[in-house]
């Protein structure tokens, strides 16, 4: 157990529907340190996204949240909305599942990225801002950043849009990136690129990462520690051994099905897949 | 379809609205045989009476019984509105379904025509038509139809196109379903449902339109009872005898509101994912 203050410490977080009291998440918790990657796995509907969004105060209005969520020691849930808003973008960044809906369809990508940059550095000169955006896009392996900047979201594929979202991480340099099923809506090639980018991001920028996904392969590639959620509760937690040696019956089921999915392929190609 | 009806009947609000409308229609239909005063019987000496005694809601400036005029007014206002709504939606639905089904150039030409109609502000168009053709109930209905059919056509065309592109229609085609099958089994029920929601929601505005035209003297002519015209007559004595304006106003308001609420309930009933108001 590290002695540093965790970047984000969530304790006993419970989320329920405000009007009916129905529980969505019960007593969830985790500790995330700087530069660490936490994987949150479970099936759709397990409450992974809601728990994470509630922990940073972005839960849907119909839900009520109880518990503690400490960001660098300060209680996020007790903060004013304005106080939290100061953190979003600058220190905490959210990558959503559907890259198409992350961008305004009527505005070119370049403008939207510049806008995000200006939120964090309002006094930056326009030449310098454009240079930084192009640099960030180039780091995402785009061959022609200028063309990407001129494009509208509908002209790019899902994978390309997701990489543009990741470019904002390099522009804004937050302390924490929350990625909510970033590869689920993408085909395997784009998904692999996105996962590789997350790996590079962690190495080069040292950002902490919360990776919410139902794909155990992604989690195994990235996570230092992980929690398994089912029907709103955390049923297992730990380091990578949770996947290699699962204890809880449900975790075993998840691992089992993932292995079954890869079984034929592994047998035929002799390995569990290639390297990037 | 009967599931939807069941859901609708289980909704308290919907039941209330349907009962209210049914009651209105019943009163209107039975007006000649009900034991109420003659709506056109003038009694100058008995004018501006307060509610009570022989006149439940009082009398108007010519001594006519307001309650009776309200009931007889149902026949004019509500029936004219329903007739206008039926004709408009029938024409609009047919036009839009053809455009949406034919696609291509036919669709484009038909929709441009509809766009031209929609570019006229509907109130101005109605006034112009009635102005040209002269006042009267029939002309009022014609004017409403001309003003509104294009909107319904466009709505129906959108619905038809969306359903034609749906995955389940594609599946049926792959299985060898002909156009007739798709029309009868998927398009017609799906489109009818959504269209019905629109129609219910919009009936209130037609009632308002008819009343407004009569208020302006462009609809029915005296001594026929009609709610909008009753308002018009009452506005002359608004300050001295405000009760005369109150009753037709309440009648219009409650009828329009009732259709609006019913439209909401119908829409909720069609949306199977919606839990239903009373938690079902």
């Amino acid at each position: 157990m590290s002695e540093r203050t965790p970047l984000l410490l969530v304790e006993d977080l419970s989320v329920s529907v405000a009007s009916t009291g129905r529980s969505i998440v019960s007593s969830a918790g985790f500790a995330l340190h700087e530069g660490e990657c936490l994987g949150i796995v479970g099936e759709s509907g397990a409450g992974k996204s809601i728990m994470t969004l509630s922990a940073i105060g972005l839960q849907p209005r119909v839900l009520s949240v109880r518990g503690r969520s400490l960001w660098k020691g300060e209680d996020l849930l007790a903060m004013t909305a304005k106080g939290r808003a100061a953190l979003y973008g600058r220190q905490i960044l959210l990558i959503v599942q559907q890259p198409m809906s992350a961008f305004d369809p009527l505005i070119r990508i370049g403008h939207q990225l510049l806008e995000s940059l200006r939120c964090v550095s309002p006094r930056i000169g326009s030449q310098e801002a454009i240079r930084r955006v192009e640099q960030a896009l180039a780091a995402l392996r785009f061959e022609d950043p200028a063309r990407i900047m001129r494009s509208f979201p509908c002209e790019l594929s899902g994978g390309q849009l997701q990489r543009c979202m990741l470019a904002t991480v390099r522009l804004l340099k937050p302390s924490l990136v929350i990625a909510d099923e970033p590869t689920s809506a993408l085909d395997v090639l784009s998904g692999k690129e996105v996962v590789n980018e997350f790996m590079r991001m962690r190495e080069e920028l040292g950002v902490a990462l919360i990776m919410i996904t139902h794909d155990l392969g992604v989690v195994q590639a990235l996570a230092d520690q992980l929690i398994v959620m089912r029907q709103g509760a955390v049923i297992e937690r730990g380091g990578p051994h949770v996947l290699t040696n699962p204890q809880h019956e449900y975790t075993r089921y998840l691992v089992n099905t993932r292995l079954a999915l890869a079984e034929a392929f592994t047998r035929l190609t002799g390995n569990g897949g290639g390297r990037a | 379809m009967h599931t939807i009806l069941k859901r609708l009947l289980a909704d308290r609000m919907a039941r209330g609205c349907m009962v209210f409308i049914a009651m209105l229609l019943a009163l209107g239909v039975l007006a000649p045989v009900l034991p109420i005063a003659d709506p056109t019987a003038i009694d100058i000496t008995g004018k501006f009476q307060m509610p009570g005694g022989g006149h439940w809601l009082g009398t108007d400036q010519l001594g006519r019984d307001i309650f009776s005029r309200l009931v007889w007014g149902i026949r004019t206002t509500l029936c004219a509105s329903l007739a206008a709504m039926l004709i408009t939606s029938a024409i609009g639905a047919l036009y839009g379904a053809i455009a949406g089904g034919m696609r291509g150039r036919v669709d484009a030409v038909m929709m441009r025509l509809a766009d031209v109609m929609m570019s006229f502000p509907s109130e101005v168009l109605i006034l112009a038509i009635v102005g040209m053709m002269g006042p009267g109930l029939t002309n009022m209905i014609i004017a409403c139809v001309v003003a509104k059919w294009a909107w319904y056509a466009r709505m129906m065309r959108t619905i038809v196109r969306r359903i034609s592109d749906a995955g389940y229609v594609r599946f049926a085609r792959v299985c060898g379903a002909g156009e007739a099958w798709i029309l009868l089994r998927h398009l017609a029920p799906g489109a009818a449902g959504e269209f019905f929601v629109l129609v219910t929601l919009d009936t209130g505005s037609v009632v308002l339109m008819i009343s407004a035209l009569s208020f302006l003297g462009l609809g029915v002519q005296p001594p026929v009872a009609e709610w909008g015209m009753m308002l018009s007559e009452a506005k002359e004595v608004m300050l001295q005898y405000p009760w005369q304006m109150f009753w037709p106003g309440v009648a219009i308001l409650s009828t329009v509101a009732c259709f609006n609420f019913l439209g909401d309930c119908v829409r909720d009933a069609f949306d199977l994912r919606h839990a239903g108001r009373d938690g079902q």
Binding site: G159, L189, G217, T244, T257, R258, L261 | A177, P189, L272
Partner: protein
């Protein structure tokens, strides 16, 4: 084995932009030729934009090819479709959109039978059981089912009229990984029925678990076509790229039981 489906130099083009002013012609499919034999389970794999959706629509008969021809059991495509109604079926990617939301599961699954003018007589119940759902699902509506359950219903619907050929168009791509594994196991169970199928996907793991042969589609043409046994020896760039894109997953946990 007899040839069941044959595509010969099929190509498809669209006009992009307003053709009056002079739009570009796009060729999502440039030259596709392949053949599926009776009872064969073939996978078609390619990236987004390779032309998979266009090819799927053409094989399903929803679009006509600009060039080339399609033969089913030796007969021209359109003629075969007329002579064999409901002999071809499909399972789409978006399971909620591919069913009529106002119909019960019973009505949805029995639609192909109704198209043929046949009555149900218990087939719906039998098929629901065969896909792992209990018979009381027949009275439910689509919005009451989870994604995995809905896709099982779609599979039941695809099989009810005893088709000779089923196309799975990214049928598992929208499902959770754990549910994908379950559906793929279901497909393996039903593969004994002797029907030919075309399994379209962007995920090589899914394709290898249910197919005996795989075709790689890239930029509108089939670049490689080999048996899954020979997969490790694939030579084309497209195939090597897709092979390398599979996320590895290792675990020391070995469970001898089945997936469900």
């Amino acid at each position: 084995m007899n040839k069941f489906l044959q595509l010969e130099h099929v190509a498809r083009s669209y006009q992009d932009g307003v053709s009056l002013v002079g739009g570009r012609t796009i060729w999502p499919l440039r030259d596709v030729s392949f053949c599926i034999h009776e009872g064969e389970r073939v996978g078609l794999i390619g990236q987004s934009g390779a032309g998979k959706s266009t090819l799927a629509r053409i094989v399903l008969g929803l679009e006509r090819p600009t060039r080339g021809r399609i033969l089913m059991q030796g007969r021209p495509f359109e003629a075969w479709r007329r002579e064999n109604p409901a002999a071809m079926s499909v399972v789409f990617q978006n399971y909620y959109e591919s069913v009529n939301p106002m119909w019960t599961v019973q009505a949805i699954v029995s639609e192909p039978l109704a198209l043929l003018g046949r009555r149900d007589d218990g087939r719906v119940g039998a098929l629901l059981k065969a896909v792992g759902l209990s018979e009381d699902f027949a009275a439910r509506y689509p919005h009451q089912l989870s994604g995995g359950q809905m896709q099982r219903v779609c599979i039941a619907r695809a099989l009810i009229a005893d088709p000779k050929f089923v196309i799975f168009d990214e049928a598992v791509s929208s499902l959770d990984v754990s549910v994908q594994a379950e559906i793929l196991e279901l497909l393996r169970e039903i593969s004994g029925r002797g029907l030919a199928w075309l399994f379209i996907s962007h995920d090589l793991q899914a394709v290898t678990s249910v197919c005996s042969r795989v075709m790689f589609l890239s930029e509108g043409a089939i670049v490689e076509d080999l048996s899954v046994q020979d997969l490790a020896g694939a030579k084309s760039d497209c195939a090597r790229e897709l092979l390398g894109a599979v996320m590895p997953f290792q675990s020391g946990f070995i469970d001898s039981g089945s997936v469900s």
